[in-house]
């Protein structure tokens, strides 16, 4: 019973932290709108151009390049936002907000989980924008409610995963400037060493192992199955890998939080 109560308290604290972040977004929605621009460009300019260049022929059976790429852009948009999330935490540390949060009864990992959840919710807004744009571009996506819910679920997970990676790094580098640098250094390799914009089979052999340990690959594959192919064989495995990576980085980020304030 006591353990159950503790678990409930843990998750309710995480939700309160998430609420705090979401209330901030409600007061200032600019960031949500601005962040829709980049994925829109990838899809509308890169995607359409590549289709015209004949990328359709390289894509596994039956899919157009835009069908193939839309899940990739979804994953990328979540990654690009989440990977810079640590900057917020460094900023809050510098302001003294973090010290105060840590002096409340909420545990460190509940604070990290809450922040990660809020990153997840931010990701949802972008995902909606990408899906709407894809529909405007007449990309044929599987639009049943279950697949959409599945996609949202995965977007939340991947945002949580990479925001935890970012917070873990933030606890090591401790300044905003360095954090910007690390974010830049990480996004492109994670993005290119995944199947977001081209199939794994077309990659140079030496990148393949990297792609296989890159959580983003599993994210892309899971969403591609849900939205484009409809073949859900590997979905449980993909979800498991993403969830495991999320838990791992959640733990690392929670441990790092102690370093942040000392």
């Amino acid at each position: 019973m006591r353990a159950l109560k503790a678990i409930r308290k843990y998750f309710s604290n995480a939700l309160i932290i998430a609420e705090l972040e979401l209330r901030k977004i409600r007061h200032d929605q600019t960031q949500i709108w601005v962040r829709m621009v980049q994925p829109a460009l990838w899809l509308a300019i890169y995607g359409l151009t590549m289709s015209k260049l004949g990328m359709n022929t390289f894509i596994p059976a039956g899919l157009t390049y835009l069908q193939f790429m839309t899940p990739g852009v979804l994953a990328q948009s979540a990654l690009f936002v989440a990977i810079f999330f640590g900057i917020n935490v460094v900023w809050e540390r510098d302001l003294g907000l973090l010290n105060k949060l840590l002096s409340t009864p909420a545990s460190r990992s509940a604070i990290i989980l809450g922040k990660a959840l809020s990153a997840g919710v931010r990701g949802i807004f972008q995902a909606i924008a990408v899906i709407i744009l894809a529909l405007i571009l007449r990309v044929h996506l599987i639009m049943n409610p279950l697949s959409i819910i599945g996609v949202f679920f995965i977007i939340i997970l991947v945002s949580m995963c990479f925001s935890c990676v970012s917070m873990a790094i933030a606890s090591l580098v401790k300044t905003r400037e360095r954090m910007m640098g690390f974010g830049q250094v990480m996004t492109m390799p994670l993005f290119f060493a995944s199947s977001a914009i081209y199939p794994l089979s077309t990659m140079p052999t030496w990148i393949k192992p990297i792609a296989y340990i890159n959580p983003l690959t599993y994210v892309v594959e899971a969403m591609r199955d849900l939205l484009a192919t409809g073949n859900l064989h590997t979905l449980p495995l993909d979800c498991l890998v993403i969830a495991a990576a999320t838990v791992l980085f959640l733990v690392l980020a929670s441990l790092g939080l102690k370093r942040m304030i000392s």
Binding site: R23, D28, L95, G96, L97, K100, S103, T104
Partner: protein
């Protein structure tokens, strides 16, 4: 034995390059306003952070209401309120939301929140600005909001880290009034740090003076002031022998002041000054200015640490104090 609100026993906090807190022990009674004084970097904030379970001590024991802070961190945090030195109200939320989130994090039930939040906003005179964004607030209002956040939970022990740093004199007086009211009306135990001697004198029942990690002395402000012994005369002279000459005349000096400047302790300053000046003139010392001061806590500090309070700021501490000041006055 009566239960103490705070017990600090042989506390040591060692960082890789500095000894932040070096074997410090003291107790704080229930309902007491206890002040930790000292220059920046003396170990005041570190002591508070250990008590709040934010950092682990290297050795030693700290208790809050008989709970060991190292072993019962969550319960301890639940009992305490904390107003950090830096600005800690969230500027991207309204005042009400700031207090709301705090009350939720302290596990306050929704029903209680409904009465408690307006109550605490009212206590801090923020009711009419409750729904305004905090980034439009003045420094004094922000400080009051931060205190509201710490109070919403009705803490048994309230920690205030430099409560009036960067505030203008008027806002400072308002905060002082609040701290007193809090103790008088709710019997809250308050532990505060400050490097403002005037503030400590006005507010604190007892004071501990910290310097370089040590607790230099401890006592009531009046007791501490009486230990300084009497009035202080400060002499400025262009003559480098001034200090030695004063000593030769048989006066007791306090510091190893730089040449031509010296502080001496006397019992009846007003009547002594003319004689002193005559004696100095006869021994060939040209005095440029002289001032008389009745004892203050500043002098107590001077006596116990051998340095004026402004000295010894580290670069980062100074930068932080300035930064937080700029933010508050924006």
């Amino acid at each position: 034995m009566e239960e103490k609100a705070i017990v600090v026993h042989d506390l040591v906090k060692q960082y890789p390059r500095v000894m932040a807190v070096d074997n410090v022990s003291f107790n704080v009674d229930k309902g007491e306003i206890f002040g930790l004084l000292g220059p920046n970097g003396a170990g005041k904030t570190t002591t508070i952070r250990v008590l709040l379970t934010l950092i682990k001590p290297t050795s030693g024991e700290t208790l809050i209401y008989n709970l060991d802070t190292a072993k019962n961190s969550e319960e301890v945090r639940r009992m305490c309120g904390y107003v950090p030195q830096d600005v800690s109200a969230d500027g991207d939320l309204t005042a009400y939301e700031n207090v709301l989130i705090s009350s939720k994090l302290y596990g306050m039930p929704a029903k209680e929140r409904k009465t408690r939040i307006p109550e605490v906003l009212n206590f801090l005179e923020l009711t009419d600005r409750a729904n305004d964004m905090v980034n439009t607030f003045s420094g004094g209002m922000m400080r009051r909001l931060e205190i509201a956040q710490a109070l919403v939970n009705r803490p048994r022990v309230l920690f205030l880290d430099e409560p009036s740093i960067g505030l203008d004199p008027n806002a400072r007086r308002i905060i002082w009034g609040l701290i007193k009211k809090l103790r008088d009306e709710f019997n809250t135990t308050i532990m505060m740090t400050t490097h403002d001697m005037g503030e400590a004198d006005v507010l604190c029942d007892r004071i501990g003076i910290m310097n370089r990690g040590h607790l230099a002395t401890l006592g009531k402000p009046s007791e501490l002031k009486s230990t300084v012994g009497g009035d202080i005369i400060t002499i400025n002279s262009s003559n480098p022998n001034c200090y030695q000459k004063v000593k030769d005349l048989g006066y007791s000096t306090i510091t190893n002041s730089p040449d031509g400047h010296c502080d001496l302790v006397v019992s009846n300053g007003e009547t002594l000054i003319p004689h002193l000046l005559d004696s100095l003139k006869m021994s060939g010392v040209q005095v440029e200015s002289v001032s008389l001061k009745k004892p203050t806590l500043d002098d107590v500090f001077l006596k116990y640490t051998g340095a004026r309070i402004e000295e010894g700021d580290t670069f980062t501490e100074t930068r932080r104090a300035r930064r937080s000041f700029t933010r508050r006055t924006k």
